[in-house]
Structure formats: C-alpha cells, structure tokens
C-alpha cells in the first residue's frame, strides 16, 4: 500500500513518500513507523507532496511538524491534495511569479 508520513501527532497533513494516484488507498504512518489511519486519495500528488488527513476549514491552520505552516485558503477535505492552490502563508505570501509555478 502507498504510504504517507504524518510527522507529528497534531498534524492534519501527511507527506507522500511515493507518488499517489487519485483513488489510491493511502496508509498514513507516524514518524515512529506506526500506522495511524488509511485514507482514500481524492487527487493525484507527486512524491514529497502533502495530502489532508482530516477536514480543514477555510482559515484554519494547516499543521505539519506539529506547527502551523499556513492557513487553508479554502475548505479542504480529508484525502485532498494540499499545496499552494489551497494554502496561504501566515508570514510571507508567495509572489505572483511563485504562484505561477503551479
């Protein structure tokens, strides 16, 4: 089964350690290699990209490393791809040029 790492128990996103295809069952493991849960991928995402492991309301914190890495720019549901299209920095927003990378 394809795997994604949830680095801290407080996180609401996990990082894919292999490329994930839409519809894949994804096993979410902790950094101690324990299975946390299984989720169905609603999007495809490359290795190293993030998948939501719970619903995240617009404006709520997106958490990785147990810390906010930004806030949801729209409602995100469990299994969705999480990246610059639906997350905003709380500190320095990406420039228009950087947003064009996606």
């Amino acid at each position: 089964m394809k795997k994604a790492i949830m680095i801290d128990d407080k996180d609401n996103v996990a990082t894919a350690i292999v490329a994930i295809d839409i519809g894949d069952e994804v096993e979410v493991i902790s950094s101690r290699q324990e299975v946390v849960c299984c989720i169905k991928a609603k999007d495809s995402l490359p290795l190293g990209h993030k998948i939501a492991i719970s619903d995240i309301k617009k404006g709520a914190e997106v958490k990785k490393y147990g810390t906010a890495i930004g806030k949801a720019a729209k409602n995100i549901t469990s299994g969705e791809y999480v990246h610059i299209h639906n997350v905003q920095s709380n500190r320095l927003p990406l420039t228009k040029h950087m947003l064009s990378y996606k």
Binding site: H49, Y65, N90
Partner: protein, 390 residues
C-alpha cells in the same frame, strides 16, 4: 575521536591545505585566474561586486584567514575601493604567508601573472612540506546549509544532519547555521534552545530583522524557487520548519555578528551558533567560511551540485528519486530514512563518519569534479538604515 588536519601558526586547524589567489576586483580577476591556472591545490576567487564594494572587505579577510588556506596571494588592480593592505595586515596576524601583486604598479597583466605564478610556486613548495596530524574534534568547525530543498529535506536529510550536528557538539566541535529567512515560522523552536535570555532576544531579532527585509510593501521579491514548490514545499514556514531540523537540538549559544569592520568567528568556541547573513547558497557558505568554518554539510532534495573554493561541501539527499538519478554527485544517501528502511539516527551517524573522513582528506564529490564556487553577499546599509536595523 580524532581527525587528521593541518595546524596553522595561530593553532587553528584546517582540513585542506590550499593556496588562495584573491582578486579584490573584477579588473584583477583574469590575472588571478591565470596565476592559479594549472596548479594543483591553488584556488582563485574574485570580489565581483564592483570595485568600490568595501562592505565585502570583512568577508574577504575572514575567507583569507580560514585555516583551510595555507597562504594567500592578493591580486589588486591598484585603484579599487577594496584596499588590499588592511586585508593583508589582518591575515598576517594569523602567521600565514600573505603577499600582494598590484597590476598598476607592476606594469602589465602579463608581468603580473608571471610574478604571481612565481610567488604561488614558492607558497606551494612551502605548503607541500606540511603534513596532516591528529586533532580531536573540538578543532573542527562545521557549517550547515540546505538548498534545492523539497519536503524530503525536512523529513530525512535535515533531521539526519541534525543528529550529526548534535554528535559534533557533544564531541566539542563548533557548529554554525546561517540563512535567517529559513527560520521565519520557527521562532518558538529556535528561541527555546537559547542558553539565556540575551541569546533568546538575539535569535528573535535575527529572524524578525530578516522578515522586515523581505516584506517591504510594493516590492515583490521571490524567496522560494520552482524546485521548492515542485518538491512539495507550500509556504516559507514549511520550508523553515524543515530547514531548522539540520541544526539538531543542542543549546544555541549565540548569533555571530557580521560587523562592518570584521566578522565574528566560530572556531574554538565549541557548541552551536547562528550567523547573520543570507540564505543564498554560495554567498552563505562564503560567510560561514569567513567565520572560520572548515566543512559544509549540505542537504539537497532536488540535487544542488556546487562546491566551494574554501570549504569541502558534503552533499546529503533525502530524495530517493534524486539519489537514484544523481548518486554520482551525492556524498550521503539519506533517502533510506525517507523510505523507512533506516533510522534518522543511523543516517546521522553515517554523515558524522563522512565529515570526519572528509576532514581527514577524503575528497567530496564536488572536489573530485574540481568545483570551486565563490560568491559574496553585499550587505546593503541603505536598506538597513531605511528599515531601522542599523
């Protein structure tokens, strides 16, 4: 544990025994390059930010004083703002040989090159007589950097480098980390490691000053590259929280200042320090080299492939795709930790062993290729004054 290094007259220990040919301006650059051409163990660098960039003099001085350098030949046009004499006076305090050729005094570039090559030949003969000897790890100063980062850097390569950093601090070595922009969002974690309230304030100021430099209304400056975003990094906070992992968990003893007259140095301090400066790869490494760092340990997800003129660069990747494609260019594979096949601690111990081996003379992948990048950062006192940071 010992490594095999070169002791200098001022008791600092280098891991390389190079002759540095330093051009103080672009005008002097071609002559400096031709003086160094064809010699093994001679490296040529240039102050390339225009001939009046006197802000770079402390960095140039620090680089020339680095213990990896056995002797220094400064090549000057003769009329530039970066004056060679004060640099020579500082460098000669270390006891190493430092000489100067001024093109406008000698006459022609051809004569200068001939004269310079004679000096370098003599310096090489003298340096060649010096042999490596055993020194404990407290003589080592290690600089940490990441670049071409993706999410594997924060999960595998940087945490493994952090294990190495802790092992080095425990062994008495000095460890230095720069790139304040990549601490934005990690204030709580970094300041919680401060040894006292004064250091805590210094860490917070180190980060908040940098945030001010990058959030000027009306200006739109990129701070993450395509590779970061293609690699899954979504925000600066995510990049920062991954980046600071390479600093391990030992107490932070201070933030080294880059003063206008000199840079604070790290060798002999022992423990973990931060440094003022930039996150831009080569200028950041040059700053750390100017602070006396011997070796750079560099995490790269996407596959950064530079070397550095002064310090060996040990490349560590946590990305299994990068390792599969680019292992010829990578020194340490941390992707085993990304894939859950090896613990972070085990990878960290391998990086530690690699640092000791490189300190004792093992060539890194970039050294095998002969890569010797050098670049400087221009501290802009106008921006600092406008932002009230002076």
């Amino acid at each position: 544990m010992d490594f095999q290094g070169f002791v200098r007259t001022n008791d600092l220990v280098g891991v390389r025994n190079k002759i540095l040919v330093m051009a103080t301006s672009d005008c002097a650059e071609p002559a400096a390059r031709m003086i160094a051409r064809g010699f093994e163990g001679v490296v040529a660098v240039t102050q390339h930010l225009g001939c009046i960039a006197i802000e770079t003099a402390p960095t140039l001085t620090g680089v020339a004083k680095n213990a990896n350098i056995a002797a220094v030949l400064i090549v000057s046009m003769g009329c530039e703002g970066v004056e060679p004499e004060p640099i020579m006076a500082e460098v000669s305090k270390t006891g190493k040989d430092v000489e100067l050729v001024k093109i406008q005094e000698i006459g022609t570039t051809r004569q200068t090159i001939g004269h310079g090559r004679e000096i370098v030949q003599r310096m090489l003969e003298k340096a060649g007589k010096q042999k490596r000897g055993p020194f404990d790890l407290s003589h080592l100063a290690i600089g940490l950097k990441c670049g071409g980062s993706d999410t594997t850097s924060g999960i595998a390569a940087n945490p493994a480098i952090g294990v190495m950093a802790d092992m080095m601090v425990d062994a008495g070595a000095s460890v230095l980390m720069i790139e304040p922009i990549e601490a934005i969002g990690a204030e709580e974690y970094l300041s919680s490691r401060a040894t006292d309230e004064e250091v805590k304030r210094a860490i917070r100021k180190w980060i908040s000053d940098e945030e001010k430099r990058w959030s000027i209304p009306g200006a739109s400056v990129d701070f993450m590259c395509r590779g970061n975003i293609d690699g899954g990094l979504t925000t600066l906070e995510e990049k920062a929280l991954g980046a600071v992992h390479k600093g391990g968990h030992r107490p932070i003893k201070g933030v080294l200042k880059n003063r206008r007259d000199c840079l604070e140095t790290v060798p002999g301090r022992g423990g973990f320090y931060l440094q003022e400066g930039t996150h831009e790869e080569i200028p950041a490494i040059t700053y750390m080299a100017a602070a006396g760092v011997n070796i750079i340990v560099f995490a790269t997800g996407r596959g950064g492939v530079f070397g550095h003129a002064i310090c060996p660069v040990i490349r560590v990747t946590g990305n299994p795709e990068t390792w599969a494609k680019m292992n010829e260019d990578m020194d340490v594979n941390a992707s085993t930790a990304m894939e859950g096949k090896e613990s972070i601690e085990s990878v960290g111990r391998r990086i530690f062993d690699e640092v000791v081996a490189v300190a004792s003379g093992k060539l890194t992948k970039s050294e095998q290729m002969g890569f010797d990048n050098f670049a400087l950062w221009r501290y802009d006192s106008r921006l600092e004054a406008l932002l009230g940071l002076l």
